[in-house]
Amino acid sequence: MTEPSDIQQLEARFESRIDADDRIEPQDWMPEAYRKTMIRQIAQHAHSEIIGMQPEGNWITRAPTLERKAVLMAKVQDEAGHGLYLYSAAETLGISREELLDGLHSGRMKYSSIFNYPTLSWADMGAIGWLVDGAAIMNQVPLCRTSYGPYARAMVRVCKEESFHQRQGYSIMLALARGSAAQREMAQDALDRWWWPSLMMFGPADADSPHTAQSMHWKIKRHSNDELRQKFVDATVPQAELLGLRVPDPELRWNEERGHYDFGEIDWDEFWRVVKGDGPCNRQRLANRVRAHEQGEWVREAAAAYAEKQRQRQQKPRDAA
């Protein structure tokens, strides 16, 4: 149907639109590789939001005050919302919700490795909000200008909501840091455990990131993994100092010449181990998600049956008339 010369023309037009900072919308022609990359990235992002509800959901019933509990519930509800915005954005690329969920449940599609670490104490709620959401914001703010329209629009909503998440996390850390010796110890322990996994959230080093060059060319990504990781370290170290906590990296020091912090090497073996499914909680997180989906089956069936009944009732009087 489409001649090769047509494809060349469409590709040229696509590239020129990308160069001109035009946004690509669902009905527009796009190279198959762009569509695939976009689906992979948006789906992974959506899955991360949904799986990300688990580590925090773990502490809702044990929040120290009613206020903290209400805040944590609002945050977890936001994560569900973010997942839904992103699933909708992915669906505009021609993949169904069912295929997306199946991809997650079967392990064929990935989610962020950070959620494969356990939340062992209340201080982890602070560290996650401060560090994990902080790292997510670094990643996500540039995505508000990503070249695919529906993804960019979803990210604008996500980013607006995400800054509350980081602040509530830091407020938990502040309360603990200003508390008793035991509370300060709890906060330090959380920072010790979450620091390195948070740095890993930016993905492999630029030299080992197979998708970066193409994604930057297509303006899906606007900054490289290492650039964003550096930005995160620079922003976060002073915040740790303000808390009176020690960042668990002996090589961390301010480099006057570069105007940035130097920091130690990430344990890439651990990084790849968790990505490949062998982190502390991979199996548990996925099993929980699959179970929740299966146990919700009757609810979905009941809602569909109810909707069908209502539809038939509305039709009957009209047919009779």
Binding site: Q27, D28, W29, D78, G81, E91, E161, R300
Partner: protein
């Protein structure tokens, strides 16, 4: 699987009276009522709206992408529809 049977709805929010409804995203729901409640929970958690529309996506008729279809072309060569097309003597200060 029942998920695929839940139709897709487009959600429009009026952020305050005096403004028109604006498309904010979409969601799946079993029926109109569920779509409206889900839209409230999903798109107005921070008082973003005073009025909501949910429309089955299948009910929307859309123009084709500009890449494929000269649908908007008739408007392109009619620059005389814009006020800037007309040159006025300097003496005419405001018009």
């Amino acid at each position: 699987m029942t998920d695929s049977n839940w139709p897709l709805y487009e959600v429009f929010v009026r952020s305050r009276n005096g403004l028109s409804h604006k498309h904010v995203g979409s969601l799946h729901a079993a029926d109109d009522e569920m779509a409206l409640e889900a839209a409230r929970d999903l798109y107005t958690r921070r008082s973003e709206g005073v009025s909501l529309w949910v429309v089955p996506s299948a009910a929307i008729t859309a123009s084709q992408s500009a890449d494929r279809d000269p649908f908007f072309e008739p408007a392109q060569d009619k620059i005389y529809r814009h006020p800037t097309f007309y040159e006025l003597p300097d003496e005419v200060k405001h018009m």
